[in-house]
């Protein structure tokens, strides 16, 4: 698998990463090198092997339905660059 420059630009846009002119081309080379490296895994024959989701055979941890967290709005918004009256505020987005 390899990517072309258009794909690199598209992925960057989806991830909201700004790429300057020329950077996409360099990034294409880097990404293709990484993809080529990872592709070596495809050489392993995994026919009939279930995908592994955990090294240890364990079940997903679950929590009880109880309110144990929250009620610290000031902390939640403390790092927001802009805030107003307990809300995060962002440049207007309207559909």
């Amino acid at each position: 698998m390899s990517v072309d420059t258009a794909t690199v630009k598209r992925v960057a846009r989806l991830a909201r990463i700004a790429l300057a002119e020329g950077e996409a081309e360099a990034m294409r080379g880097e990404l293709n090198a990484i993809l080529g490296f990872v592709e070596q895994l495809a050489e392993v024959d995994v026919t009939g092997v279930e995908p592994m989701t955990s090294v240890q055979p364990m079940a997903m941890k679950q929590r009880e339905d109880a309110v144990t967290d929250g009620f610290y709005a000031a902390d939640v918004i403390a790092n927001a660059p802009v805030r107003d009256d307990g809300f995060f505020t962002v440049p207007k987005v309207v559909e």
């Binding site: 989701t53 339905d65 709005a73 307990g86 995060f88 505020t89 987005v93």
Partner: protein, 493 residues
């Protein structure tokens, strides 16, 4: 599961300028799971609250915070699946659905993509003409809700409140089995009823607990499916009907003018009665789903599912069938009564040990009618099931006439009290003493000799005499006795 193909119903087709069209509708319903805490955090799900107060660092997507699933939300999804007679998947997987929006702090929504918790099921939908049809359910999956953006607080800024961020939602996806605006409304109504019976979603549409994305397409009867448009976030049952109506009309207009329908996402504007395209569609959605590496697959046992199944309440379809079979109600009346669990319970309390049809009649026609008139819900009813039952007993044992019963109902509604005591205190008891009735009849006859003559030629005038006698007795005369004696006295036997 076989997909039933519904032949086009001529009554449901829409007339266009160039012939008939069939509208095809499917729905994705987002139902907020009833739970105390969120899907992956211990923050409260309570509606309202100060902005960003029902938010944990998990919901705010602070670095290093990890999701831990709420077991009750899983149980609620399984209960809902069982209520939809659906396949329950004992192993399901959570995926990340990636997109950017200010009210989605993670930059992705944890959802289920290829392996949802619930598979195919069905909903039996009842229409107002008494007929029913089946809507296929494709799947139900668990996912997180996003936060809320307010756009009207400031000229240039949007305000973001994350209280809803991370609340558990069930997305319930139907097959495109609906063929009219009425069917779409009826489906959502029935789904809401089932969820409320199960207690898995409160169905409160004003608070956004239930929202629908409506997929609409049109085609010539018998043709393959047309291109669909998705109308996002419709938040009332009435609007679902209106949205289907106007969107079908719009598509028919485009097609009849020789145009083509573009697959797109649209918004319904109830004020203008139109749908319009959402602006942010330049870039096709690419959510780049992948399994969430923070969460192991969700697994549970048959025994656990069976325990949930065993504890389910009686659901509306079963209750309706029982009301028809055990109480002899019409399917329509049974359907009205089971639409809400509280109505069904109220009816059963009234009907216990009494004539069930009379009970249904009083509950549906008098009580629901009166509640409606005053804009009250059943739990605000001034008349309890015991009072209404007492009133019915008084009619059944002949203490009061049907007409007086309606007056008594009004007294109980406005003033309350024990029905039997009210009847005694106000002298509403029916007069069955034939002597007293005869006396009243004689007076009426004596006062109207001309009418007596006419009645001999025109026996329908009897009704006028009955009315006069009832009026003279203040509605308390036993109507049967009045009829019998009048017939005899007027020589109409």
């Amino acid at each position: 599961m076989t997909i039933a193909v519904r032949p086009p119903d001529p009554k449901k087709l829409i007339k266009g300028a160039t012939g008939d069209w069939e509208v095809v509708v499917g729905m994705e319903v987002h139902a907020q799971v009833t739970s105390k805490a969120k899907l992956f955090s211990g923050a409260s799900t309570e509606f309202g609250g100060e902005p960003n107060s029902h938010v944990s660092f998990v919901d705010a997507a602070m670095p290093g915070m990890l999701p831990v699933i709420n077991a009750e939300c899983v149980a609620q999804a399984v209960r809902t699946g069982l209520g939809l007679r659906a396949e329950i998947n004992k192993r399901s997987v959570f995926d990340r659905k990636n997109y950017f929006y200010p009210d989605l702090p993670q930059g992705y929504q944890i959802s289920q993509y290829k392996q949802p918790i619930v598979g195919e099921g069905e909903v039996i939908v009842d229409l107002s003409d008494g007929t029913s049809f089946t809507v296929g359910i494709e799947r139900l999956h668990l996912e997180q809700d996003a936060g809320k953006s307010l756009h009207d607080q400031h000229a240039t800024m949007s305000f973001v409140d994350l209280n809803r961020s991370g609340v558990a939602l069930m997305e319930i996806v139907s097959r495109p089995d609906l063929r009219s605006a009425e069917e779409a409304r009826a489906y959502l109504t029935k789904l809401r009823t089932i969820l409320r019976y199960l207690g898995t979603c409160d169905g409160n549409m004003e608070e956004g607990s239930l929202r629908a994305d409506v997929n609409v397409s049109v085609r010539r009867p018998g043709d393959p499916l047309g291109t669909r448009c998705e109308i996002k976030n419709v938040n009332s049952i009435r609007f679902v009907g209106q949205a289907v109506e106007v969107e079908a009309r719009r598509q028919i207009g485009v097609l009849e003018d020789g145009g083509t329908i573009e697959q797109e996402t649209r918004l319904f504007d109830p004020g203008r009665g139109e749908t319009r395209p959402m602006r942010s569609k330049e870039e096709a959605h690419d959510y780049r789903y992948f399994p969430d590496p923070d969460l192991l697959p969700l697994e549970f046992t048959d025994a656990w599912v069976e325990a949930l199944q065993g504890a389910l309440p009686e659901l509306p379809d079963a209750k309706k069938a029982r009301f028809v079979a055990d109480y002899g109600l019409s399917p329509y009346d049974a359907g009205v009564l089971v639409a809400e669990r509280v109505s069904a319970d109220y009816f059963e309390a009234v009907a216990k040990g009494r004539d069930a049809k009379a009970a249904a009649n009083w509950v549906i026609n008098e009580l629901f009618g009166r509640l409606n008139k005053d804009g009250k819900a059943l739990d605000e009813s001034p008349i309890s099931a015991a009072q209404l039952g007492g009133l019915i007993d008084l009619v059944a044992d002949g203490t009061i006439s049907g007409k007086i019963a309606k007056d008594l109902f009004e007294i109980l509604w406005t003033e309350g009290g024990d029905p039997r005591q009210v009847v005694e205190a106000r002298g509403l008891r029916q007069v069955t003493d034939t002597g007293a009735i005869e006396k009243t009849i004689d007076e009426v006859i004596a006062a109207n000799p001309d009418k007596v003559e006419q009645a001999k030629a025109k026996p329908t005038l009897m009704g006028w005499f009955v009315g006069q006698v009832m009026k003279a007795s203040g509605g308390k005369a036993n109507p049967q006795a009045v009829n019998d004696i009048l017939k005899r006295k007027l020589g109409l036997e």
